[in-house]
Symmetry: D2
Subunit: 254 residues, 4 copies
């Protein structure tokens, strides 16, 4: 029975590539996303085509019980979740305060913070029982600074970051590695950045940001770092790191 | 008509003392707290006894519409809210992850983060229209680091801090001063610290923490800094500062 | 005998205005700067014209023994240094790495970091003996993030900030208040900003940055906050705060 | 001709292990340390015994020209420095302010900050010319918070961190990857920790900190992360990360 890498938020960007990478290394990739059964099928098919093992699930993380039921089913039917990846974004674009509805603000929290709490609530104790496990959390610049128009997103991500620290403080000594991965730039992902920009501007950006798309962060290379984090010896764990393209300014340089 | 200082969370600690200080300087203090009509009456009475102007309201900030209705009533019946103080805590004590219910986690967010968003949503545009205003936000160490057992509190406060930054980014240039005040220590407040510890341990702590209770933070002196922040010239605003007793270690020194 | 406020770096900007403010409140202002005897005389004269007490000294802080001898002379001849202000900048403008000489890098450290260490080395023990004292340290954005071309300045200021924390950790519990004041913007100071820009661009900037020069930070209003810090009750000290104009973006917002 | 990994500070802890790891991957390890020719010979011998290529140099980094001459000689005689590792510590133990001599404070800066500047001054332009290169900088908790007694160390490390940011800001877009690696715990290194504690307490610590010495950070596993950083694709570089043992508290948790 293969160990499982569970990915919440497995699109064509970071989530899908991380699942694929762990599958290549011998994990079963349990891939969850909200919509796009076709994209999910393609991803599972690609992993299986590489000789890997994967399964896909449509799942609306903000609905009650969805994450919880998926964890239970995976544990019962597939195998122990050794690695869990929380990769849901909560970006809704820049909106002035008055245009940020209570509902949008709450939705940001549900996706950005509460969903991670629910995931951790189930998987951390399982990992503790087994003496080991890894929780990899994709995060965003908004976790460390709040820009204009980012009320919902920044409040959610600021909470996400502090939650990663409280999880680490409680579960680190129990053998559960929690890492907060600050993705400080635009990822070359057709179904997030591509949708946000539209196909033309997306293609244009890919072409102008430099040789080999270097200006955009390549998600398959981001997956290399996720894999490395999961491989770190427990005497030398990283809790927090940043990732950005060489050609981008870090957030603190404006 | 006096300008109003609206305090959400006006107990016998920071909130009440800030209200009292602003009343002494010529503001009407509109004081809101969840329970304890007697304590509220005493506070209003004390301010009026000093020759100041105040009114008190019981208000459960997590209930729909409560903050909003209070703002509208104060603006209609008393005067323009020049200063708003968000002073609700969300500390529930240390609880392991498994003992932190979904409800407790959500309640932390409602008090710690969403309530501030609701307040800001109404008062920032009013202040913008009038070209000036101040939003003073009490915050906690958990806004900058997450300790074990602080899952609900730290996630809420991390969100609070980022929200202060997004509010500042949008409303600062419009003349609204938003300040995030990190209270990094125990406040000498009978109805929060006193309740948490019980009367005997509270009294004991007051006596052992040194001459003139210096080890505990005196809320009337905290109010001095709140007042200073509201007086800063708009060319030299502070967005973020910390406060602690000289005898306490800062959070980063452990 | 008046208590003394010693200012290292007392030009026409923050340093001079802080000295003037403390003199107005009853301190003797002992004002040190590297050059410009005329400017120094004018400053002393202005303070005395207001009915205050002041003295001025030309002093090259990077030369051996200069700060030390001044402290000893002031303590012996004028009075106890209750407040010391370290206000030396170390900004040399943006220079690429290859154009930053070893000498420039070292000079940055001597002004930015070592001078503060020398000051603290003498005044903190004096303040400890007397059971109280305040060390106010002007700092810059470069203390918290390093921009391109700021090799010398940022390395010096990053050291300055950490030094403030070690001083606070050791001397706070002994009654010495150390505050690190992050000045995150351009100060309306003719002899720093004015010199850097030249008279025409400086005047232009003053005119275009908005009504009442609000875009530039008014140093006499910065002095209000220095004064407030020195007045904070020891149960509620601020160690770190930022200052910027309402119309400027904080460093983290780029 | 093999590419070179130059290590400044190559003892039996992080530096030596990083050199060894890069040698295993095909680099020539150019290993510099201040003293202990025997230890250096053993290290070079061990690498060569593994089939790798290495050379060792005694070098006092604080002496004028030493780092510079070594870089020039390595480039001339061995090969292009593709990876430079700055691994000099500047920890002198806890010393109160009055016991921290000017000389000790300056020495901290020379080792902690100026040496890195000198290294970067030569290798960054070489790497820029070649379009790629990696500068890996070992850092310490004192780079992000100043504890009592750490005046020299924290001021030096605070400068080191800001310098890494200015180097990254200037050289990142030119293809040079600068990483600041915060080692937040005790490393299982006989010639630093071992010397500081003495053989008995060191052995005792190794035994009591848990199974497989997990409480101490294993330097050969730290080297895994240094290697990973040097392998990151330039679209997904990490500038800053922390490392600590699962059983240790992060610095922010005290």
């Amino acid at each position: 029975m293969k160990p499982v890498c569970l990915v919440i938020g497995a699109g064509a960007g970071i989530g899908g590539n991380v699942g694929r990478r762990f599958a290549r290394e011998g994990y079963h990739a349990a891939l969850c996303r909200r919509t796009d059964q076709d994209g999910l099928d393609r991803l599972v098919g690609a992993i299986e085509g590489d000789g890997g093992s994967a399964s896909g699930y449509l799942l609306n993380a903000v609905d009650d019980g969805t994450i919880e039921q998926r964890i239970e089913a995976v544990e019962a039917e597939i195998g122990p979740i050794e690695v869990a990846v929380y990769n849901l974004g909560a970006q809704i674009g820049d909106r002035p305060l008055r245009s940020t509805s209570y509902k949008a603000f709450e939705m940001g929290w549900r996706l950005g913070c509460f969903g991670l709490f629910r995931l951790a609530n189930l998987v951390c104790p399982l990992m503790e029982e087994r003496g080991a496990g890894t929780l990899l959390v994709t995060s965003a610049t908004a976790a460390v600074r709040g820009n204009a128009g980012q009320h919902s997103h920044a409040a959610a991500m600021g909470g996400r970051r502090m939650l990663c620290q409280t999880l680490n403080a409680e579960y680190g000594p129990k053998g559960v590695h929690v890492a907060h991965i600050l993705v400080d730039g635009a990822v070359d992902a057709p179904d997030t950045l591509g949708k946000m920009l539209g196909p033309e501007r997306y293609q244009q950006l890919r072409e102008t940001r430099g040789m080999e798309h270097d200006g955009l962060m390549l998600p398959e290379r981001i997956a290399d770092t996720y894999w490395h984090l999961a491989q770190q010896h427990r005497s030398v764990w990283t809790h927090e790191l940043d990732l950005r393209s060489f050609s981008d300014s870090p957030w603190w340089n404006g």
